[in-house]
Structures are given as structure tokens and as C-alpha cells.
Symmetry: C4
Subunit: 273 residues, 4 copies
């Protein structure tokens, strides 16, 4: 992982998953709000999507593990060599990926069998994120100030994400909590990219001064901007999906929607009180 690619890969994974989770939550919410009659028909579709989500999670985790272990001088699954630990940083990353893979497997089990509570998947996600925080927290011994700082922000994000996921697990079906989690996951993804650019500048760009306090103050602000940009991504996604669902519903069941719109307005005004 000690390279540009090693940070860009998980960054991309997190952005994809965050975007997909956001999309899923918005779809469910908008659908439910617009219509109650048509909702049940899309259930089988949703269940299939959930299973695919699990498969993609496992695939990502395996890619990460293989990349860490076998590419560019990784530990090749050897933990202890010549009287000392063999490339523990690589093993750390392998462990993190493993927990995300476990979450993917649980997700599939939850949606294919009847025996497990559905919220188990959320609990495992929260677990995987907390384990990631824990390992990153103990990951940066003896590095330079800015290097430590950008990883601290990563730990900070993951702890927040883990907490929000855990809250979701307790308070089911709160769409805003789900979107908050998505935005935090996307934030984590874009921040991985930022770390890649800071620590391993592309050929041509000058290296960052890792001991300059001014850089730290800039990155503090930069982190906030990343966060703001996740709002914009999710906001645009929300607008697009709302428009899509509305226009599609108009075609399918015009008469029903007419009736439902009134119901909806009523519901809205109740909520307001």
C-alpha cells in the first residue's frame, strides 16, 4: 500500500460503495414516498441487487488482499521470516480487507437465507469499519508529521462512519442516517486519493514538505472541502433519482399517482406539526 496505487485502489472502492449505498437509500426512500402500491413489485429486484452488492464487496476485498500480498514485493502470505515479522504494514491492510470481505459474505447470507436478522449485515459493516479505525490508529509509528496527520484524519472519518453505521443498526430505516453514512464513506474514498497525491506526488509535481505546519492547516481545510463535495454528489444524485422516479411513475400509473399525491401532501403536513 505504500504507493500511489495502494491508496488509490481502496479510495476508488470506497467511492463506488458510498455512491451505490447513497443511490440505494435514495431510491428506496423516494419510491416509498411516491407510491405505496407499486413498491412491492420491485422487491425481488432489490433483493437481487443486495446479493450482487455482497458479491462485489467480496470481489473488492479479494482484489485488495491479492494486491497487498503478491504485488510489488508483498509478504507472499509469509508472516514470520528470518527471526522477525515480515512486512507487517502489508498484513495490516490484508486484515482490513478481510473484514470487509466478511461483511460481504454476511450480506449475501442475510439476503439468501431466512435464518439471520437483516440488520446483522449493518452490524458487520460497523465492525469492519471499526476494525479499520483500530488498525490505522496503530499504524503510523515513527512517520513524519503530515503523514501522521492525514492518517489521523482517516481514523477520525472511519470512527465517525462506524458510529453512524452503528446508529443505523439501532435506529432502523432512517434515510438521513443512511445518506450521512454514504457521504462519510465517499469522504473516506476521496481522502484516500488526497493522501495518495500528498504522500506520493505524481511525477512532475513537487513533493510536499511533510513537516510544514502551514500544509497541515491547509489539509484541515481541504478535508472540510472534500466533505462539502460529498454533499454535492449526494445532492445531485438525490435530485436525479427523484426526477427519474417521478417521470417513470407518471408513465406507468398516472391515475394512481394522482390519488397518491394528495395523500403525500397530507402526510407531509402531518410531519411538519
Amino acid at each position: 500500500m505504500g504507493s500511489f496505487k495502494g491508496h488509490a485502489l481502496p479510495g476508488t472502492f470506497f467511492i463506488i460503495m458510498g455512491f451505490w449505498w447513497g443511490t440505494k437509500s435514495i431510491l428506496k426512500y423516494v419510491y416509498k414516498k411516491q407510491t405505496r402500491t407499486c413498491y412491492l413489485s420491485s422487491k425481488t429486484l432489490l433483493r437481487r441487487a443486495e446479493i450482487w452488492e455482497g458479491v462485489v464487496s467480496i470481489f473488492m476485498a479479494l482484489t485488495g488482499i491479492v494486491g497487498e500480498q503478491f504485488i510489488s514485493g508483498g509478504p507472499y502470505l509469509i508472516l514470520y521470516k528470518d527471526g522477525q515479522w515480515n512486512q507487517l504494514l502489508g498484513w495490516h491492510h490484508t486484515t482490513m480487507y478481510f473484514f470487509f470481505g466478511l461483511q460481504g459474505a454476511t450480506h449475501i447470507l442475510c439476503f439468501t437465507t431466512n435464518f439471520l436478522p437483516l440488520s446483522l449485515s449493518k452490524l458487520m459493516l460497523s465492525n469492519a469499519i471499526f476494525v479499520e479505525s483500530f488498525i490505522f490508529y496503530n499504524h503510523t509509528h515513527g512517520r513524519e508529521m503530515l503523514d501522521v496527520f492525514v492518517h489521523q484524519l482517516l481514523v477520525f472519518t472511519t470512527i465517525l462512519t462506524g458510529l453512524v453505521t452503528f446508529m443505523e443498526f439501532l435506529a432502523k430505516n432512517n434515510v438521513l442516517l443512511e445518506l450521512l453514512r454514504s457521504s462519510l464513506i465517499i469522504l473516506q474514498g476521496t481522502w484516500f486519493w488526497q493522501i495518495a497525491f500528498v504522500l506520493y506526488p505524481l511525477s512532475g509535481s513537487p513533493p510536499w514538505n511533510l513537516t510544514d505546519i502551514e500544509n497541515k492547516m491547509f489539509l484541515t481545510m481541504c478535508f472540510s472541502w472534500h466533505y462539502a463535495s460529498t454533499f454535492i454528489i449526494i445532492g445531485l444524485n438525490y435530485t436525479f433519482i427523484t426526477w427519474l422516479v417521478k417521470s417513470r411513475l407518471k408513465k406507468v400509473c398516472t391515475s394512481e399517482v394522482g390519488l397518491l399525491k394528495n395523500a403525500e401532501r397530507e402526510h407531509e403536513s402531518e410531519e411538519e406539526v
Copy 2:
């Protein structure tokens, strides 16, 4: 912001908003308690007030941003100049104001369209306050002891406020949580004024010794007194509004109130059990 005015301005903004939020919460609560029949008539009024609140938020945020960027040698929207970061402290403040502006915009969207859940506005407020905490936390490198301490207290207040706002977002319609948030926002506002007086004493008054531990101990206590004074402000406001609503209702619908008062007493005794 490195001046008396730069601290007095946000201080005033927070006091105004805190006072208005307190007033709104009390009005809603007292109104609901006194009567259920007359309540619905004032709904359109309330919705209009909410939209105006959003407009005022955006206006305040813009004022702050313009003030930070263009007044008395600000960065003039230039982030990087002559091989180094350009006035990052000013940019920090701009970022904070931006998030409060974003909250204002969301607030307007929530109350003018039907597509967004109303509690999104509260979530964005909590976000804006947390971002403020985060930036202030990384804001005071290499300053003197007392300067750091008064800003730490600010961070402390904002973290608490953010937590309370988040709780409000989860547990809707709890009037006391809303008042607690108002009092913390007012506290933040008056504390900004206190910081202004401590760090930039008005001409005539002697400067504070920024390394004296006695001053730190005094400011600890002073902070508690500020907090106590916010209770008094909100308490007086509560008394005034209760009196106002009661006397106004007496004129409008005397007969109805007679009936409702009994219902109210009953409700009260139920709550007690």
C-alpha cells in the same frame, strides 16, 4: 478575523440565531400546549418564518465570507501565492461561514419543496457546527496559553452544540433539547465577544497577561457565568412568550380556552405519573 470586529461579528450572528431559535421553539411549544384548535391557522406564518430564517442565514454567511476575504487585507480569494499558502486563517473562517450558508440553503429547500425530509435541515446544522469545531480544533498552532484556552472552550461549546443538534435530529420534537441548543448557541455568541475583549482589549483597558494561570482560572468560571446568563435570557423569553400567548388567546377565543384549560390540566397530571 484577527481583530475585535472579526470576533464580534460572528458573536452577534450566533446570539441573534440562538435567540430566534429559542423564541421559535418556545412559541411552538406554548401554542401547542395552550390550544389545539387555533394552532393550524398559524402554520403558513411559521413556514414563511422558516424561509426567512434560511435567507437570513445565507445573508450572514455571505457577510462573513466577504468580510474575511476582502476587508482589511484578506486573501482576496487567492489560495496560493508566491510558493506558499495565502492567509490560511482567513480561509479557515471562510470555510466555516460557507457551511453555515449551506445549512441556510438546505433550510430553504426543505421548506419550499416537498421532496426533502424536514429533519435534513437539522442534520446540516449539526454538520456545520461539527465542521466549525473541527477547524477551530486545528486552528491555534503556536499561540499563547490563554489564546489557546479560550479557543478550546469554543471548540468544547461547539462540539456539545453539535451533539445536542444531532440528538434533536434523532429525537424529534423535544422542546427542552431545542432550548438547550439555543442556550449553547447563545453561549457561543457571548463567548466570541468575551474572546474579543480578552485578545483585543478596547483602547484604554489594559491588555490581559496571556500566560497567567490565574487568568485561565478566572475565564473557566467566567465561561460558567456566561452559561448561567443564557438560562436567564431564555427563561425571561419563555415567561414573556407564555404571557403573550395567554393574553392574546384570551381575547380571541375565550370560550374555547375555558374548555381547553381543563384538558391541559389533565394532560399535565398524566405526564406527572
Copy 3:
């Protein structure tokens, strides 16, 4: 407060209040569980007790304030003298007592008027305890190791108590949370006594070595024992009150209780599922 009496006084206050709060919670719970018919008759009595509780709170707070300000060379209400702060430690304690007095006043207002939500009293209690934590946290600059440690444990207890009180405020009518708070308040009281004995040994006993790590380790354990002893106090109180209510009810309304006992057993088994 820098004396044996200065610590024994608040200690005694907290023990009394903790014991009374425990008694009140147990009485309410046992009464409610044993009978639903007789309960309402004791309501006026309870309301009167609540008002008295507020009066006693205010009295205790005033005693504390007067003691801190006017006895044995206190600041005599003078904050600034001869170009420096006048006895800030005394003023700190005054501020703490003031917030508890405020809570007492709110408690009375809540139970004499109809305009305030009853849970406001609990919120103010939580506030008073948090302010106490905050001030104690900034209270021990430049003292010796063991002195700092025993005060840290105090801060630790008060933060926990504040959190539990705040939870009570959110989740109303949970008897075990109320008893947990009582036990933490009693713990705080007995710990004040322990501090008095450690820092101001009575004449005859040898002084404690304030820099010995062994003493710190003993006090850690001692703190746990204090906590265990609060369980025993509350347990005995619980047993006594249960017995009292049962025997008193047997006399008053024997036939009714016969019917209710079955209902109770049913309820119990429902809870179990």
C-alpha cells in the same frame, strides 16, 4: 474549601440528596408495582415532597455559598483586588453551588406552576453536574500527584453522573437509571469525605505521601469499594421500602391486593418474554 470541613460539607450534602433521590425512586416504583388503585391518593403528598426537595436544595446551595465566601478568610464577594484575582478557588466553589441552587429553584417552579415541562428539572440537574465537572477539571493546576488524582476521580464521577442524568432526561421513568444516578451521587458524597481524610488528615493520623504511586493504586481500589458500598446502601433501602409498602398495604386494602398480586405476576412473566 481548602480544609476538612470544606470537603465534608458538600460530601454530606451529596450523600443526603443521593439517599433521598434513591428513596423517592424506589417508593414510586414499588408503589406502582404493588398497586394501581391506591397510587393516585399519594400524589399530593409527592408533589409537596418535591417542593420541599427544591427548598432543601436551595438551602444547601446557600449554605455552601455563604461558607465559601464569608467563613475563615473567604473572598467576601470581592472578585478583583489589588490588581489581581481574589481567591479564585473560593469563587469556583461558589459558582458550583450557585448552579445547584438554580436547579433547586427550577425544581420548585416545575412543581408549582403549569407552564414548564417537568423534565426541565432533570435537565438543570444534569447541567449543574456538568458545570461542576467542568470547573473541577480546570481546578487543580500545579498540585501534587495524589491531590490531582483524587480530584480527577471526582471529575470522572461527576461526568458519569451528568451523563446518566441526561439519559434519564431523555428516557423518562426508568427506575434503574434513577437508582444508578443515586448511587453515583452517593459515591460522589463519600468520595468527598475520602478526599477530606486524604488531604487533611485529622489530628493524630499521619499525613499521606502525596507522591507515592502505591497510594494512587490503593485509592483506585478504594474508589471501587466506595462504589460497591453505595450498592449496599441502595440495596438495603430497597429491601426496607419494599417491606414497608407491602406491610402497610396489607393493613389498608387487603382484598384489593389479593386481586392485584395475580395481575402483577402476569405482568412479570410478560416482561420476561
Copy 4:
């Protein structure tokens, strides 16, 4: 406790209890899900098991106390000897065991009498675990880096376990929270064994270098693996019990189950919405 056995003993206790708690939770959950008619018949059995659980807890606590006090040069119940504290570390462990014994006693009282709320047992468990964290936190003065680190991880686990137990106490009947607690308790148990192997290597194996940062990084990862293994233990247990209950029910009441399976499927699809 300063020996291999002193760490292996509590480790074994925690593994046993964690496994039993997991089994109990799964049994209850699977049983409830499969059938509602047969459930009540097993209630008496469950109550008896709860009482036995309390007895075993007390027995374990007593074993621990006796072991700490009287075996291999313990303090023999003498707290203060020759002008100094007598073996405080042993006394620390005694105190921890005592709180777990107290929990056992409360557990028995809750399930044999009608006077106590059932969730008191959970509150006492949370208390016992928090006291354990508190004592361990103040337990490792002046030890070597790795020794401190493995105990910090213990404190970390116990604080998390205490929080989860407290949440369980507030949000009753959440099977996943119960399993999370079980897995954390098992983690604590296996981690005690790990500590034993690290600090007191069995004869033949080389001692660990207690100041090597590489060892710390390995143990970080190792801790995560322990956590993952608790999932596997609980997962296997879950699968086994589900299979057992299903096959046993098939024999006993085939016709009923046929009816219930449909109800179950319906319930499942409701949950999904």
C-alpha cells in the same frame, strides 16, 4: 495474577461465560422465531438455567478471589503491613472478581424473587465490566511498553463490552447486541490467554522483546484476528443451534410448524420493508 495461570484462569472464565451467553441468546431468538406455541413450555427450564448461571458466576468469582489471595504468596487478606500497602495488584484482582460475584448474586435474586426488575442483572454486569476497565486502566504503572499495550487493549475491550451491555440494558431484547456482547466477552477471554503467552512464555519458547515496536504492530493485528475468530465461534454456534431447534421441532409438532413457517415467511418480508 502475575503468572501464566493467573491470566489463563480469568481467560477461561470469560470464554465459558461468553459462549454460554451467546448460546442462550441464540436459543431464545431461534426458538421465538420458529414457534410461538411451544415457547412457553420451556420457560421454567430457562429460569432454572438463569439461576444456575448466577451460581456459576459466584463460584468463578470465589475461585478467582481465593486464588489471588491465598495461592503462591498472595496477600492473605492483609491490606496494610509494615507501614506499606501489601500486594496491591493482588487486591486489585480481588476487587474485580468481587464485582463479578456481586453480579452473580444479583442475577440469582432477579430470577428467584418478584421484587427486582429483570434488567438489574444486566446493569450490574455493565457495572462489573466498567469497574474492571477502571482498575485495569490504573494498573500498569511503570511497566514495559508491550506489557502496557496488551493491557490497554484489554481496557479497550472491556470499555466496549461495558458500553454494549449498557445499551442492551436500555434497548431490551436486541439479539444482535447480545451476540455482540458475547463476542466481545469471548474476545476478552482469548486475549487473556494471548497476554499469558506473551508475558509468561511457556518453557521452551523464547521470551518476547517487550520494547520492540514491531511486536506491538503484530499484536494490533493479532487482536483483530482474535475478534474475527469470535465471529466464527458464534457463527458456528448459531448454525448448530438453528439446525438443532429445527430438527427437534420437526419431530415434536410437525403440523404446527407447517402453519408457522408461512407466518414466519410473512414476518420476514415485513421486516424487509
